[in-house]
Amino acid sequence: MIDPITLQQGTDWRAQAEVFDEIFFVFLTLGTVVGIIVVSYTLWNVYKYRDDGSEPSDDFDAPVVGELPTGQGGPKAKKLFLSFGLSAIVVISLVVYAYGLLLYVEDGPDTGEEGDIEITVEGYQFGWEYFYPNGHSEMNELVVPADQRIDLKITSRDVWHNFGSSELRIKSDAIPGETSETWFTVSSEEVEERGGEATYLVECFELCGSGHSAMKGQITVLPQDEWEEWYAGTGDDSADANSSSVEGDLANPRVTGSDVGGVSA
């Protein structure tokens, strides 16, 4: 089992996608191996013990109509419990292993003093609205910086939706009256690889009405400095509405430039 502590040192955080890919690979490999063994063993035996029209052997005890049912004991019963025990060990160890990683995914990486960004996501028929700490809100496109842990608080203003991005391997229910949480992080290397701006598709994973299929959005990840510039600009359009709270939010250490800069330093 992988110790969750080792997963979260420095900025070398494991994104949920990496954790998922690892578990999925382990499960898929073991599942395929077990599946092939069980199915081929079964097929081989079914072929071996087919009724080929020959005379039954002496120890073949054919059942008759009207007998009270009994089971078969003997060596087969022993084999039954052996196989059962083995399968139980495989299944339980798989799940214990996966559980260790669940604890990491639940808490997310420890950001220490570096801070993170908390964004509220509100689903509606048929789109997503994102609320930033400074009061700015954005429809359908979530713009966030690289190398930073993004905490999402997810809710809905009408029916039950499910906010998810397959590529980032994040997903959470958006339920009216409830707030669920998830987090993600994208490294600056990843952003660079994708040409200085990484975009990820957001889809709705719970049937929410006639526009469910089209309920798509986007997460855009920018390099730190570009995002800071963008974010500073967002203060303006909500300034008319509530300028003092914007300033107050900008003063919040969780999102101030110096702290954000601290992450990339």
């Binding site: 069980v38 109509v65 009256g177 469910h212």
Partner: protein, 832 residues
Amino acid sequence: MSELPPTTSVRRWLVTTNHKDIGILYLITALFFLLFGGVLALLIRVQLWDPANQVLSGLAYNEAVTAHGLIMVFWFLSPFAFGFANYFVPLQIGADDLAFPRLNALSYWMYLFSGILLAVSFFQGGTLSAGWTMYAPLNVPMYTPSIGSTGAVLALAMFVIGVTASTVNFLTSIHHSRAEGMGIMDMPMFTWSMLATVWMMLFAFAAVLAVGLILASDRVLGSVYFSATEGGSLLWGHLFWFFGHPEVYIVFFPALGVMLELFQTFSGRRLVGRKWVIIAICLISVQSFLVWMHHMFLTTINLEIKTLMMATTIGISLPFDLIVFSLIYTLMKGRIQFTTPFLFAFGALLLFILGGITGVFLGAIVLDYEFRGTYWVVAHFHYVMFGGATALFGGAYYWFPKMTGKMYDEFLGKVHFAVFFIGFNAVYASMFLGWETPRRVFEYNPEFQLFHQIGTIGAFLLGFSFFIMFYNFLKSFVSGPEAGDNPWDYSRTAEWAVSSPPPLENWPNRPSYASGKLEFVKDYIPDGGPAVKADENGNAATDGGDSHSDHIREYPYWDKHPSHASIWPIALSFATLVMFLGLSGFNDSISIGVADSLATTPVTISNPVYPALAALGLLGLVYTGVKWGLEDFYAPPSEFAERWPFNGVEKVKLGMWFFLASDVIVFGAFISAAVFIRYNAGWREWSPLTESLPGLINTFVLLTSSFTVILALVAAHRNSRKGLLASLGTTIALGLTFLAIKMWEWHHEIYDVGVTIAENSHGDPVQASIYYVTTGLHGVHVVGGLLIAGFLFYRAWHGHYMDDERPIEYFGLYWHFVDIVWVFLFPLFYLF
């Protein structure tokens, strides 16, 4: 009672109460719904052929998805299994029929008519489009306003009512009518799996009945449970999945039972570790109620609960491992015959292994987080549920010769299997490959187009394969070779010991396993006296065994023929259909204005058809119910039967206890809903809406009426007609007093205080909804009880119940239950 017409007469199929006839009706109807749901599936697949192109509109696609799910899960899988259960469980346990034949017919007609109600809903402005899981609040009229949506919800409620009757019937039959010498561990595996199925159904379907009634109330009466932000959505999730997870096993177990039978019959080997397989089945049945929140890992439930649910989920996979290995090892050293039934059962095992392995993935929460809402889930549950149903088609081929007396065409059967198996894996394995597609979307990432196109081709292949089966069955029924009584070399169960098809009353003489194997014994019936049990040599024995001669006073066994026909099950179901059809459009046809009192309230009826239908249906329901009660219908008690663990409990009483157990869950769900919503709203934020005094008076009134019912029973036991009439009359008067106080209270709340089912001027509207709906459900139980009491009073007036006070006793059980429920409701709504 009327005579049963011959099978060639249409009338026969309308009035029959015989378990074999009803089994066939179930099978044919279920296959019809397979086609219905299948056509919807093909519509979905056609839409998915192209990632962008649309054949259906968004709404129509959602309707197709919803109706496909509902029809396949409710109107196909379970009823198809219950067709076999109807036909073969009584035969396998050595009974003449199910315990309550008329109730069995009622279940069938409720099933058929509820399906018709669902079909009609397509033409009422479109059926429900919220998915078969019907997540709240998409399921309330604000988001799914069509009348047809309400119709679909009511169809489900009606279906569940029929299921509840069926569940009580099977539980009573299996626990009450097993042939002498057949202990509970001696039952054939198909019967065992059905027993586990109906035990789960008793509780699971009570939960879905409750949640369906609450939703129907939201849709028809305007209560606001599921639109409440005080946990309304999560309430739906919890209640639905508390039903929904056991439901997976409810549809799978009958198929498992068929697999367990067929693996033995076509290998000539007995089941390996039989006792442990039975224990595993029982464990799964209990555990199935402890895993439901694994469908809700991404909601706001906390880590501790998730961990617990993960542990129970993995725990429930282990007994399945044992069963799978037992099936595999059973075949070894056998003489395996690759007949069509075996191919289907074996194919089902392979599909189930794949479904099981992919299910373990879902048990790991981190993986579930990503699989949630994707085609991985869709593929997994099709492999498990439809993979299981594959064995049921094996059952169809296996029992076809028994049911028709004709042999099916083996070659066509094998072709069917090959096409079916290839089509099945093409459509569902491709879903695993394209699993990142979100569920229930029709515009998807073009990257996955290939997988979805393979799926579409597979679906058409799968659909086509059934026409091979239909042709095979039709052709063989008309001109197939005679099958004989027992076409299989290694069959064991009792259905193969009688002719094909079996005679109306199943057995030449009374079946008994007292000697360790099936024998038909002739009981000695002296003139004018009760039956005397025959001993092993066929001579009359004098010990009487399990005979309860005092139970047959009203219907002397020796001069009364069992009844097999009644028109009232279909009539009562039809009345229910009419009433529910009326209720579906009720809310849209009537608007009730605001006024100071009931008398001056303006009521505007915009469309008189729906309210008229509802009223007509209700009248029909009361009329047919009374006619049902008055009909002279005789279902013979099983004189000498194994009844563990309910030895000494009379048949109807046992049925009544089972019914009350399910009703406990219904009220339990309503009370849990009230507690859950209040907890989410803040427990101390709410104070009682009503004065406590009327509630207190009503508590005393009801408790007193419980006492008078006991007096009625004592009077009937003492053959005192006057005493019986007086105490029954007092009970009715007390019940009416309760209702009168209730009505005064509601009137006061609505017109003086201003608290209606949807509005609450003093706090959360949902609090008012909970108050009216929960006490309303109790009130409906009181009204129902009073109708029965009135019926008993009328019969007592004409001198009944003097030598047989049992109906009074059974009514008393029900009435006490209704009173006990009030004892829980009173503090909940009047004190705290």
